[in-house]
Amino acid sequence: MANARLRDVSVVAARIGVVAALVLCWELGSRSGYLDPLTFSSPSRVAPQFVDLFSSPVVSVDLESTVKNVGFGFASGALAGGVLGLLLLGMGESVRGILLNYVVSLQAIPLLVFYPLLLTIFGLTRLPIVIIVAVVVMVPVTVGVTNSFAAVPRSLVRLTRALDLSRGTALRKVYLPAAVPLLFPSLRLGFLLAMVSAIGMEFVVASQGLGYAVAHSYHAFATDQMYALIVFICLLAVVVDVALTAVENRLRRDRVA
């Protein structure tokens, strides 16, 4: 027991150590001139900017905007993907194969190219970004739902039939938890894509959002602020990923160990 604890602590320590070493290399590289300070800045100059970020009202507007873009886009995309995935499951295996192909090939299309078109339809509002984020999220979620539910062991399907469970009960009590190990990675991928595409679009055409803020700092030669924003975005992504993992472990308590 004590040994396992010690091992856990040293693993965490090693992980922190890796990050610390990278930050140190960054600082040293910048001070010694191996890294051009104008392009790469340095941790000691980014850190104070980081503090400023939270006191500036401008960035909180950007943060709110990005959270909304990602949040609305992810939520509606995941919902659409869930419904579409379940509809596909309800169809025969051959029909499912044909239709799923179309969904998957959506993934190959850089949906960002539709952004200008959506802009002309909806104007410079949040909607074009949210729509594209939703479609981007929908694809892996649809595939994830279909595949993870199709992979539920036949013995569990027989059990739901033998116990004469209603569709809703079977879904809630058996299929959904059984599908979690395969379903969750697709949700996590969906979230990652939502972040990437929302911030990417904010970069190009938007008047607010973290992507816009990064681009704006870049154009204003505010390199230190730009790095502070980049670090902030990274942290945000990590926090959400940790939260998703926690949800996953709650749904499948047997997998925590």
Binding site: P153, S155, V174, L251, R252, D254
Partner: protein, 269 residues
């Protein structure tokens, strides 16, 4: 109709089942008439793929027969019955639930109160000898223990009929014999009617009051053999001459069947 406990009789009356497939109609069961009297333990044995499991699905209401009827306690079986429990070859446990919550699952979906269903589940875990494992997860158990959990789950609803589809088929021989012995002990206490599918002749004789020997597909009833061994069954059962006689009798019937079909001798063992 009713025997000891809630046990109910199961009757098959001229049951036929045909599958409509790509190559026309395939008969799986043809004209089976037989009954499990209330509180009896009946084993179904026959060549592999002969339709034993199909018959179990019909009895469980999972599969409607093409013609004929199946009755439980005198009432036609038209769908899954709450008084029937099934045990499959795979334990089919929910891996994200503790052993206790797995056993309590059928009561939970019936809306039984948490305290009540947990008490009942704990009682059944004791019956199958797993009282120390209530909080364990299925992945922490051996194959034999998992199947015991699945049997406890089947019995938690106090069923009138227990349908078992080769429940020990995936276990090694030693565990299998132990589980058979335990099942007889448990069953001698709960006394529901049992229809037990197996392809192991010794297992069928050791556990049952009666063995039905089925033909190759489409399944017909070749013979019913009354197992007149005293209960509770002795631990050294396989050494008793009467046991061996019964085993030989079933073996002989199965061998004749494969000869009659003009196939090499390969009965399902």
């Amino acid at each position: 109709m009713s025997g000891p406990g809630n046990a109910q009789s199961l009757e098959f009356e001229d049951v036929c089942l045909e599958y409509a497939g790509r190559h026309g109609v395939t008969p799986a069961v043809s004209g089976l008439t037989a009954s499990v009297d209330a509180g009896r333990f009946v084993s179904l044995i026959g060549p592999s793929g002969c339709g034993k499991s199909t018959l179990l699905d019909i009895a469980g209401g999972l599969l409607p027969p093409t013609s004929g009827v199946c009755r439980l306690g005198g009432t036609d079986v038209t769908g899954p019955q709450s008084t029937t429990s099934m045990v499959f070859q795979e334990a089919a446990l929910l891996p994200w639930r503790s052993v206790l919550d797995n056993v309590a699952f059928p009561l939970e979906v019936k809306g039984v109160r948490a305290s009540e269903r947990r008490a009942r589940a704990a009682e059944l875990l004791r019956t199958v000898g797993l009282d120390g494992f209530a909080n364990a997860y299925p992945s922490e158990l051996s194959g034999g223990m998992r199947q015991r959990v699945s049997i406890a789950r089947a019995l938690v609803t106090d069923p009138a009929l227990l349908l078992m589809d080769e429940p020990f088929g995936a276990l090694d021989q030693q565990t299998r014999s132990m589980m058979g012995l335990e099942l007889t002990r448990t069953w001698e206490r709960v006394q529901c009617s049992v229809l037990f599918v197996t392809h192991d002749i010794g297992e069928a004789v050791a556990l049952s009051d009666e063995v039905w020997v089925l033909s190759r597909r489409p399944a017909r009833l070749l013979t019913r053999i009354e197992v007149d061994l005293p209960r509770p069954r002795a631990d050294d059962l396989p050494l008793q001459p009467r046991f061996q006689e019964l085993e030989a009798e079933i073996w002989g019937t199965l061998r004749e069947e494969s000869r009659a079909m003009g196939v090499p001798e390969r009965v399902g063992v």
